[in-house]
């Protein structure tokens, strides 16, 4: 690990100003569960760390309308345990609890979770090329090992996936990310925070240098009380998703009134399944409809040599998750 200076931020605007003023490479430190990991690997080499964990962004506010506003420094475990989340947005609580381990969730922050980097093996090994880590150096994963990598929205430059579970749920829920930047505060919607790789895979998100996430607002969505997060992985716990599904379903009179669907483990960004959502709205709430909607979504998939399995896996787990939301008694 390279030496670095350490500062504790007094307030968000000050942190952003410091970032702008510094000639050194600056990074914000949250829980450190991914950043310290990447620094030790030599993937991240900040010269100045600004610790933002003691900023006053550690609160969870349950709004009267049913929405929830979450400070960026809230620890993952605290968010998962919050009654308003467990009651109103089970998909979010389940996604958080499906991620990492109990002790990692106690350290990791909400802001940091959104900004964690891909676990692609090439990205994490500085002795090998990687366009995300060293733009222009190449993507060995495309012809090499990509069994766990993207099937949709990837580019010749990068086939990485985003590793977060929480972000998949937030993408389904249409969360808004509050950002303090050089030009002041702004809000970035999800989906929209995370990018597809295109020819700039080094940029995971639309955030600009110095931008600091201060909060995440989950808007009210009454029917999200019926929502689920389902994560597929070969190890039963403490593993990244091969594929995951975040789903919320609103059914009335046998028809889908509305739904929210997102996939994880399939793309460079949490993947909002907009085509499937559109296909389902107004359709009969049946397994056949779910299957047609899933097929529609996955028609856009372009799997690589060794990850074609993710297409039927994503389709079937999406269908199964919707069926279980429709008929909870079939959950097993």
């Amino acid at each position: 690990m390279r030496p670095f200076s350490y500062q504790r931020a007094g307030d968000a605007a000050g942190a952003v100003a410091t970032f702008a003023r510094e000639q050194r490479r600056v990074m914000y430190l949250g829980g450190g569960t991914n950043l310290v990991d990447l620094m030790r690997l030599g993937v991240a080499e900040p010269e100045l760390l600004i610790d933002v964990t003691r900023l006053p962004y550690d609160g969870i506010e349950a709004r009267p309308d049913g929405g929830v506003r979450v400070g960026a420094a809230v620890r993952n475990s605290d968010l998962a345990a919050h009654p308003a989340v467990r009651r109103g947005f089970p998909v979010l609580a389940e996604a958080l609890l499906a991620g990492a381990s109990g002790q990692l969730r106690n350290l990791a922050t909400v802001g940091g979770n959104l900004l964690q980097r891909t676990r692609c093996g090439y990205f994490q090994d500085i002795s090998k090329p990687c366009n995300k880590r060293r733009p222009g150096s190449g993507c060995p994963a495309r012809e090499g090992d990509h069994r766990n990598l993207a099937i949709i929205g990837h580019s010749p430059a990068c086939v990485a996936t985003h590793p977060s579970d929480m972000a998949v749920a937030l993408t389904a829920l249409g969360a808004n990310v509050e950002v303090q930047g050089l030009a002041g505060r702004r809000t970035v919607p999800m989906p929209g925070l995370h990018r597809l790789p295109g020819d700039e895979p080094d940029r995971d998100t639309v955030l600009e240098p110095g931008d600091l996430i201060t909060a995440v607002e989950v808007p009210a969505l009454p029917y999200a009380v019926r929502s689920r997060y389902r994560k597929v992985r070969e190890r039963a716990s403490f593993a990244f998703a091969l594929v995951s599904v975040a789903a919320a379903l609103d059914v009335a009179d046998g028809r889908v009134r509305d739904c929210r669907l997102a996939l994880g483990g399939v793309a460079h960004a949490p993947w909002r399944a907009e085509r499937a959502e559109a296909a389902l709205r107004g359709a009969p709430a049946t397994e056949d409809s779910f299957r047609r909607a899933a097929d529609e979504e996955l028609a856009g998939a372009r799997p690589l040599r060794d990850n074609g399995y993710k297409v039927p896996m994503a389709r079937d787990v999406l269908v199964r998750t919707l069926v279980e939301l429709l008929r909870p008694e079939e959950t097993s």
Binding site: P3, I126, P140, R147, L242, Y309, D316, V317
Partner: protein
Amino acid sequence: MTTTATRAVGAGLDRVEGRDKVTGRARYAAEYYSDRPADRDRLAYAAAVQATVARGEIRAVDAGAALAVPGVLAVLSFQNAPRLETDDGELALFQSGRVAYRGQIVAAVVAETLEVAHEAQRLVAVEYAAEPHDVALRADHPGRYRPDTVNPGFPTDTQDGDPAAALARAAVTVDATYTTPAEHNNPMEPHAATALWADGDLTVYDSTQGATNDRDIVAAAFGLPPERVRVIAPHVGGGFGSKGTPRPQVILAALAARAVDRPVKATFTRQQMFSLTGYRTPTIQRVRLGADAEGRLVAIAHDVVEQTSTIQEFAEQTAVPTRIMYAAPHRRTTHRLVRLDVPTPSWMRAPGECPGMYALESAMDELAAASGLDPVELRIRNDPDIDPESGLPFSSRNLVACLRAGADWFGWAGRDPMPGARRAGRWLVGTGVAASTYPARRLPSRAVARAEPDGRFTVRIAAADIGTGARTVLTQIAADALGTTPDMVDVRIGDSALPAAWLAGGSMGTASWGSAVAPACAELAGLLADRGGTVPAEGLEASHDTAADIEADAALSRHAFGAQFAEVRVDADTGEVRVPRLYGVFAAGRIINAKTARSQFIGGMTMGMSMALLEEGVLDREFGDYLNHDLAQYHVPACADVADIDARWIDEDDPSLNPMGAKGIGEIGIVGTAAAIANAVHHATGIRVRDLPIRPDKLVDRRFRR
């Protein structure tokens, strides 16, 4: 030979070092020179620099940037390292500019602190003349060759009768190829050594499964007589074979300590372990079985291709268990190696038996299906009366009893053999069985037993406890031989200054060490009795060396046997496999400690489940290394993966083994487990996955889906 009377032996005694382990007091190799500030200040840290090409020549090592970092004490490389005397290419650190595999140690930084060592490690600039590499094992590799012997000295090939002709005539045949990937031992304690030179003598705390052997090899490497080197390893954080023979960390620590004349700690990172500490070779195994209409085997052929490196031959004995397992008049086994630009494979729990029995026991399941026979019955029908290979009698062989007891316990009777026929919610359910075997051997060791004036006893032997419970079972063995209780006995192990002993490997620890401890203690008890029980002021000692005993052992085929039964559930949407039940029944002589033995069995079975479902070192063909080199990418089971895993055993009274009547138990638990699970997955889904591990991607797009 008769077995000794027992009181402590057989009891479920708590681990004698349990208190040290649950309070954090137990010290491992990287934890010395820690207590006093002055020691901590003197301690320096070595960090290895690894090759970034898979084959080639080092042109230059530029240490300048590393040396400029405050706190860096030295940079070692082939440009400045002293000569070593070793023919082990993995231990010959910095002896040449050749690079034999990506990840090989090419330099090392020695620094005042861990942080500085790890910073400077990246600043050592190594320039290579890279050459094209060849890292991919395949059955038709043109470089295939026949090694002279396979580990640890078995004939490479065997043949009885005419298997090809017998297979052509057989009523039922199976001809299938199974592959197993590279698997990495991954003990929880990364390999570490802390070394200090004083007056030309070397003391090193090492992660090792055998202090005596470690000492001898390290001493030879540095051109020293063994008595000038001391290896200390009272606690070792697992090994599973990867600490069986010395690994490079001990050489690195010693070289670095000599270079800076301070104590130096060398610890591999988890990532480095994937190239520097050995792994189980990948295998390609073709198994052909032929049986008559009643399911009696007429022919068995098992042909294996596996890999080794260019700097060391490691010839795993994969088909060796097939030689003793089942009766058949026509049999053949072969082993072929391919030398690749890869790290040298090494010992991993049940080397040979484990991957070999996965293939044989999967093929037996296929034969059962093809013959319309129950898999338990098929195995019982083919149980041999004598060792088919040597013609020797078995000292004891209770595979059939294990199969029957396991079937009873598991509720096997009435199993519907139809694959893909049971469903519970979204889960497809299946059951499977496989047999296990592991040789029961012992090797020379020496122990000294001493009566202390205070009435206590001390037993000394350079044994190792890597988590097996060795310290505890030796305490029990000693107590019985001394006619005292375990709490009166202090067993000292894990130090090459103690009487020389075989290492913790080959499931031979307890047999080898106990064979020395029991007679030494019995003799001491006799001496004490002669003196009316009075201990002289200077204490009283007796010792025993087993070399002559072992020389006189009768010619018999000595093996432990077992049977594993698995229930699996396969998610019909995702292909995720879970194992709600895994039972093993073993016949392994006398069980010395019911508590630690069960732990050994279920630990082995857990690792076997891991082999079946999770573990694969993914070779990066472009760059030549194992890509998934950490515990997030290379999966071993988490707590949530392990539900109802349990073990029982059949009592065996086998006086031909050793004074305890014990067979080794550290490895047999893993042996049949992967096949039992693979067979259960087939039963659940109708899909026969012949290349481990059985991951969701191999199941999900197959025919069991709706």
